[in-house]
Subunit: 123 residues, 2 copies
DNA sequence: CAGGTTATCGCAAGTTCTCGCAATAGCGGC
DNA sequence: GCCGCTATTGCGAGAACTTGCGATAACCTG
């Protein structure tokens, strides 16, 4: 556990959840400008391998990072207005069970948000 | 419908499905090197707005493009071995209905692959 | 605690995709 | 066909990562 790795973890601790790697890099570099962004990116991956952090995919492009100990949950993202909504994993579990029994596939349904049109944007 | 747009559509027609924008740009530029990659990217978006093409997200990072007239289906991607498996949308429909009635959310369950561990990689 | 092995770091260059802008091509009305 | 308007293009710059590499720090092992 190096200094750099500690700083990445601290920044992640401070930001409540769903932070981008870029944002973390910015925070770390605000206090320690000599730390390279690539170090932050690499440490997020390393910390994920070690089980300290996880990432999810909310909207189409950016990866969001958070501590591994926060409660897991699903996401609904509206493709029209961009709103993000959290839903309990319980809602997704029936599908998880089905994929497990029918395909032998162990789905991680919290990993990617479900894209669609939210109630407010529906015609 | 400009020449460039036609070429992008043709390249997409030729590649069976799940092509990357980068690959399409490469193909188009093989014959017409003066066409800029940014034009390809912009045209994929434009063609999507026009309803000719769609994109999905398979593994974590790259966007995959395909013609809009191919049958829609879900994807299971193994995070360990990277294998991709197609599943009928029918399997995902119960969840779609549930999100619709409980949250008023119209989910597009073909848009993002479901990530997990496939049968072969399971311990 | 010295010596060697391995992991990690900072830097620089490379990828892939995005954006702003001036030039231009397509297109409808005359 | 010509004119003017708008959409589209190529180009250059830039954002957001990724990768290769030599230097350095961490960590065994005796």
């Amino acid at each position: 556990m190096t200094v750099q790795r500690r700083l990445v973890l601290d920044a992640l601790q401070r930001a409540r959840h769903h932070t981008t790697a870029d944002e973390i890099a910015r925070q770390v570099r605000a206090r320690h400008p000599q730390i390279d962004p690539s170090t932050v990116y690499r440490n997020l991956e390393a910390l994920e391998d070690l089980g300290y952090v996880t990432h999810t995919h909310l909207d189409d492009r950016v990866t969001r990072w958070h501590r591994a100990d926060v409660e897991r949950h699903g996401h609904l993202v509206c493709r029209r207005c961009g709103s993000e909504q959290e839903i309990p994993l319980r809602t997704l579990e029936p599908l998880g069970r089905r994929l497990r029994t029918e395909q032998g596939f162990r789905a991680d349904l919290a990993h990617s948000a479900i894209v669609g049109i939210c109630r407010e944007c529906a015609p």
